[in-house]
Amino acid sequence: MAQRLGTNEDLILALSAFEDSWGQDAHNKKLHNIFGITQAGGNNLSFTSYQACCDYWERHYGNAVRNVQNIKTFAANLRKLGYNSANSNYDATLNLVYQAVIRYKKSCAVK
């Protein structure tokens, strides 16, 4: 997905880590919902697969992050589409998660 959108994969990873607790959240795991995508009423949507979740997210938010390479613009563009308005510090929060992703990848020697 990151390749298709021409964006940095670590940004997508940071968003996913933020929304499903690095895959640790049992509920989102059950729903295959790694982006915290909601339905009317605020509860998280269920997908048949992780790929289906990614496809859905890309359809709704892909254009907002197309060719974006830094976390600041990434967060700002999502915010314009109504992401996390209940956290006025969302940009900084997501940046912290992004830094954690970078650290984790380095510690695992992942390229």
Binding site: A14, S21, Q24, F35, A100
Partner: protein, 174 residues
Amino acid sequence: MIRHAVLPVFLGLVSVIPAAAQTQSGTVLVHGTYTNAEYGFYIRLPSGVAGEMDAPPAPNHGIRIELGPGRTVEIGGEFDAALLGSSRAYIDAELYAEHATNVRYGHSGLGKYSAEEARAVVGNENETLVVLRRDVSGGVFYRAYLITDFAHLERDEKTFQVLLSTFHEQNLPP
């Protein structure tokens, strides 16, 4: 701890779906009880007070309550995805990012729970941040934020405390 037994009365609240009135900015207006099933909490809004939550399909992290121009309360939940590990670390990270000054730490209540608190000045604003961390799903932070100016500090602080007192945890979804 968060997966404690739920009071029967709460079962009725879980099904409360926020009023679907959409604002011009695309958020959803909420009156009465705001329930967040994903992060396991609910708050009760006083009569005449409306909150705003993000419209689907955006993730539902919490609610924002406008007290006046430049004056807001935010109450929400999020995972500890930055691996901060404690309420104090969360507070410090937030205030550092905002270049806060005059930081004063203390303790506060979030509903019946004891939470960490910090009061600070950011630019011309007074900010009060109350954070509670729970060890579920890798860690969940509940955060309540009052942003106000000096002129309205006392009045808005009272509203903030009322809102904090209505905070309740609920079972996270299975």
